[in-house]
Amino acid sequence: MNKEGKIQVWQDYQKEIADDRYFYVRSCIRQNFFPGAEQTFLKILRSELGKDIYENPHHTTCSGIGYHSDIVPFDTIQTIVARQFALMTEAGYQNLAVSCITSFGIYNEIIETWKEHPAELEKVRNYLKSATGRKFEIPQNVAHAGDIIYKFRENIAARKKFSLINQQTGKPLKFVEHIGCHYSKMFPSKGVGGAEFPYVLVGMIESWGGEVIDYPERRHCCGFGFRQYLVMSNRGYSVSNSRKKFESMEPYKPDAIVSNCPGCPMFMDRWQYVIEEMEGKTYGENGQGIPVLTYEELAGLVLGYNPWDMGMQMHQTNVEPLLNKMGIPYNPDLKYATKEGRQIGKPTMVSCGC
């Protein structure tokens, strides 16, 4: 499809994104692997954009990984989600800001189920009241946290310290954008740009000076597959699907990969290391890996935040090739240091991480 056709298609999938007063729900995976990305998101909203975003310490997992590995029944996850909505209602908020893509899909699935099957909603209201005494309202607006960054991408661009431009060549940096499957494959109208041509990350990258690569396996799953990663003997599924993507994107020479999902960047970061260990193959320049970022980290770099404050030392595939191209200064001696600057050892790297 030509570019004009794509623009027409994604224009059919615009979604409303609330502009303030968010109730924030965290992601299990992002907290474990990219906790600094969540902190970066909150810092951008509160300090850069002046938004009201509230986190209640009593909120919990949505139980989505348990649900999608089929140990948590649908009634149970519906009621856990209803409890999150009750906390939001009690705090006086109506706009849900969701860190996780799996959770975002689940919130949409459950709200749509309640529309199609009102008896499920009544059942869940009774379950929640019986278990906790709580009542809830359904959110007026459900946005993925990436949707909110997308909405304010030009405000971020106006405050940028660095662009997605190669400082040595003056040319735009080339990005692979990877959308988590549960963002819009189930409910295309809930994602910016739908499922076939999601625009949420493209919009950020283009606003901040970069270019997006279109490659054959662009919409292919990263390979998480829930039980296909959780159980050790199933992980061949996971690495094989990521490998399929790497092989497909390699000829286009991406400078970095960015994802809106918490899990996908972790897998695409770690599986590059595994493929190098297994096959000796690397996908970046000069025998290195392709840096893999969350969209919060990308926004933070554009705004001039310290990469180590954002937790980019927790990546297995080194991010320095991208930092160098963007001209971002960093102190390599503080990469593996504590908050006070004390060294706490250094991971043994293979070339993917050098």
């Binding site: 902190q39 986190e55 029944p73 499922a195």
Partner: protein
């Protein structure tokens, strides 16, 4: 019990199976179909046939455990079916009836319940830093090992509130909140599902020669986590 009728009690089955014309586009887009000997088109065809014998075979075999629930099938199906949702209904019924222990992949449910399930009920998270033991997660690499071994300091460095009070990433979720999650599991059948996974797994473990032996079937857990008969993938 009529298996097809039982499936129709699950709203995900109702939403997942509209009317399949067997075009196979779900198989073409499916990441599981590329890796495993798996064909979601056949799953839809079998349940649509209402053939009780074939549905029972499905509930007892590896096939239903190959799906990754990415839901790519939903986007492309021209009839609005979602094989991933059909799979979720089949997996629920397989666990309800204890049939999941009849297949290598189905038996893995106990390992998932023991980690993810218990994290949810007792800690309020699906995944915890303590779970990422390097021996079980070699894919996390040297950086993963460095994080695991220095997790208190690493998480503090990047602004998390690991095991702390108040808000923040990886905070300790207050006991009152955990009590509510526990009651939700009691009221909604969450513990009923867990008990069935434990009950049927124990019977299977003993039939395979494993014993409780004071360690809650840890040898069986290790076996189901690591065993792979090598017959699952496309040849």
């Amino acid at each position: 019990m009529e298996l097809y009728q039982e499936l129709t009690r699950d709203v995900r089955f109702i939403e997942g199976l509209k009317s399949c014309m067997n075009c196979g586009i779900c198989t073409a887009i499916c990441p599981a179909a590329e890796f495993y000997d798996y064909d979601p088109r056949i799953i839809a065809a079998i349940v649509q046939s209402k053939d009780e014998e074939r549905i029972e075979e499905l509930l007892k075999c590896d096939t239903i455990w190959y799906c990754g629930e990415c839901m790519s099938c939903k986007t492309r199906c021209p009839r609005g079916n979602t094989t991933g949702l059909i799979i979720m209904a089949l997996r629920s019924l397989s666990q309800e009836l204890g049939y999941f222990t009849e297949s290598e992949k189905g038996r893995q449910q106990l390992a998932i319940k023991r980690v993810i399930g218990e994290n949810i009920v007792y800690r309020g998270y699906c995944v915890l830093p303590e779970n990422l033991v390097p021996e079980m997660h070699p894919e996390q690499g040297p950086v993963g090992q460095w994080i695991y071994e220095n997790r208190d300091e690493v998480y503090e460095r990047v602004g998390a509130n690991y095991k702390g009070d108040g808000e923040g990433a990886l905070r300790k979720i207050p006991q009152e909140a955990m009590d509510e999650i526990y009651r939700i599991f009691e009221v909604t059948g969450g513990f009923g599902r867990f008990d069935k996974i434990e009950h049927f797994s124990k019977i299977k473990a003993e039939s395979m020669g494993f014993t409780e032996d004071g360690d809650d079937y840890s040898d069986y857990i290790k076996y189901i986590n690591t065993n792979n008969n090598g017959k699952h993938t496309r040849q």
